[in-house]
């Protein structure tokens, strides 16, 4: 199912991107490319600019300098990012708490203008039935279909993370951005999450992951980018990153032994 991109490795291209907040430089001259079949992790200490980078790729922020291109197009808004095939999760789970788990997932499937909603057209009802079926299938894939009719805000945190992931997948993305998906999960949940992410990747979706759980990162990622103070200080496979003295000094050495 892996799609072959005509643009080659310019699937996601971040070129000399800088982002300033007032006088503070959150990102500075960051450049990298990601091919369409990669599972890449971004690591770095707190405040390194990881979430800012995510927000730039997802169209929630625009760069002060440089540009982000996805499949050859510049992304200017979250709507554009979604239409182009980028989906994301958030650092702090951001579900629509009062809606059911099923409705949360179905928001990601779009559909239905105001008029067809008002008139309740037959064709619209049929499409809605298909969406529901697909949403249940996606929830079943991650083992939480039994929670479909529960209010999303009332289920355990670990499962909320899975709802958010499923909701992102409902948009049928080509690139999935996961912002610290294992934060707040226990070891069993983290292991299950790792399997799910790998499964998603095997289905042909490129994954870009920000994560603090190093064992998960080393286990999952084919390639790791290391940010420090808004700069990209290393880029390579897990083995190379672990051996990199600059990375050890900046990040691994200080937090992991």
């Amino acid at each position: 199912m892996i799609s072959v991109m005509s643009e080659g490795d310019s699937f996601l291209e971040v070129q000399q991107v800088a982002r300033h907040f007032g006088g503070q430089r959150a990102l500075n001259e960051v450049s990298f490319r990601i091919p369409d079949d990669s599972l890449t992790a971004i690591i770095g200490p707190n405040g390194a600019g990881k979430t800012t980078l995510f927000n730039l790729i997802a169209g929630a922020l625009s760069p002060t300098r440089g540009h982000v291109r996805f499949r050859g197009r510049q992304i200017a808004s979250p709507n554009q990012a979604c239409a182009a095939g980028i989906a994301r999760t958030f650092q702090n789970v951001r579900l629509f708490g009062g809606l059911t788990v099923l409705d949360n997932v179905m928001v990601g499937m779009g559909g239905g203008g105001l008029m067809s909603g008002l008139l309740g057209l037959q064709s619209a009802r049929e499409q809605e039935r298909l969406r529901r079926k697909k949403a249940i299938y996606l929830l079943d894939n991650v083992g939480i279909a039994h929670l479909a009719s529960h209010p999303a805000g009332e289920i355990p945190f670990g499962q909320q993370r899975l709802v958010e992931l499923t909701r992102a997948m409902a948009t049928e993305p080509k690139l999935l951005l996961l912002d610290e998906p294992a934060a707040g999960l226990n070891a069993t949940e983290t292991a299950a999450l790792g399997r799910i992410v790998r499964q998603i990747h095997q289905q042909g979706v490129a994954v870009l992951l920000v994560e603090h759980d190093m064992s998960l990162v080393m286990n999952l990622a084919e390639r790791i980018l290391v940010l420090e103070h808004g700069r990209l200080i290393a880029d390579g496979d897990p083995g190379r990153i672990q051996a990199d003295p600059q990375v050890r000094a900046a990040y691994l050495g200080s937090e992991e032994t």
């Binding site: 709507n79 990012a81 059911t100 067809s116 909603g117 008002l118 309740g120």
Partner: protein, 334 residues
């Protein structure tokens, strides 16, 4: 694994059918000494239309409007002016007023809906004040004296001067509006507006066109307000239109109705509208008895206190809270 069933057709049609039955039967009970309730039922119906639009906007989409009475008045004045000063036929005046209401909402919504929370509330409040002043002071609207000799909506002599027939006409419109609003809330668009209410940024990331959808709901609410205004001008009033109805006080009352109804429920909003209309009548009588020389002041005091009290003690709305209490008791019994 058992997937949850979609809402069954019986559940979907049950509410509107019961509601239709009530609309047909209840007005028949208002006879003899209770006949004074019929005009009250008419204005209650107009508020129900206004509140349904406002519930979609505030309760579902999460966008506060404190100037809704302005849109209501705008619809009424455009209709009245078109039919009198501009010499349009009645049907043309109705259509023009509805389009004008939607257009005003489109233009103002485009400007104010980029604001959030308190700023949006303030902007819509100002809009309501500006429109209120326009109705009150402008020469075109007849100022405080208002407009006279308005035509009446009339289908071959119906509803004529019968208060009962007017109740049926207004509530037939309410029924259609409520059924359409219910459909909307159960559709994908309904899901999307609720997503906007919970988290705009997350909704946008999922492809929900946040601003466009907020604007559409604002336009729909403006259209419904204009519809209520048209009915006010051509059905409810005795062929006269003055500015006193479209006050800031009414905007506050409308918000109170939505909050009372629990913000996120079309049925709740409807009940909120009826309860508040009834309360308003009681308050006016009580105010006179207590000896308040200015009834408006007493109303402001009462509804202001009610709104604050609701938000502090019962933020989820009175109707859902009572429904939950009833459900709990019923469960305990069975």
């Amino acid at each position: 694994m058992k997937p949850p069933e979609p809402t069954s057709p019986r559940q979907v049609y049950q509410g509107p059918l019961i509601f239709l039955g009530l609309i047909i039967v209840l007005p028949l009970l208002a006879r003899g000494q209770y006949a004074y309730l019929l005009p009250l039922a008419q204005i209650g119906g107009l508020y129900a239309i206004l509140v349904t639009g406002l519930t979609l906007l505030m309760g579902f989409t999460g966008q506060v409007s404190l100037g809704h009475a302005g849109f209501y008045g705008f619809g009424a004045y455009v209709a009245a002016l078109a039919a009198t000063s501009w010499g349009m036929p009645l049907a043309g005046a109705v259509v023009l007023a509805l389009i004008a209401g939607a257009l005003l909402a489109l233009m103002t919504g485009f400007m104010v809906l980029r604001l959030k929370g308190n700023l949006l509330a303030l902007a819509t409040l100002c809009l309501g004040i500006i429109l209120g002043e326009l109705f009150n002071k402008s020469k075109i609207t007849g100022g405080a004296a208002g407009l006279f000799d308005l035509p009446r909506i009339d289908f071959w002599g119906w509803p004529g001067k019968s208060a009962l027939a007017k109740v049926y006409l207004v509530w037939a419109v309410v029924w259609i509006v409520v059924v359409l609003a219910l459909r909307l809330t159960m559709s994908p668009a309904g899901r999307a507006i609720q997503a906007i209410h919970f988290d705009e940024e997350a909704a946008a990331a999922l492809g929900v066109p946040v601003f466009a959808l907020k604007l559409k709901i604002f336009v729909l609410a403006g259209f419904l307000a204009a519809l209520a205004g048209v009915l006010y001008a051509f059905v409810y009033t005795p062929a006269y239109l003055g500015p006193e109805e479209f006050s800031l006080m009414l905007s506050v009352m409308l918000v109170t109705m939505v909050v009372l109804g629990g913000m996120g429920s079309i049925w709740g909003g409807l009940i909120g509208a009826l309860v508040t209309t009834g309360l308003h009548e009681v308050i006016t009588l009580a105010g006179e008895k207590i000896g308040f020389t200015q009834i408006t002041r007493f109303e402001q005091l009462f509804f202001g206190a009610l709104l604050v009290g609701m938000l502090v003690f019962c933020p989820k709305g009175l109707v859902p809270s009572i429904a939950r209490l009833g459900l709990r008791r019923w469960r305990r019994r069975t």
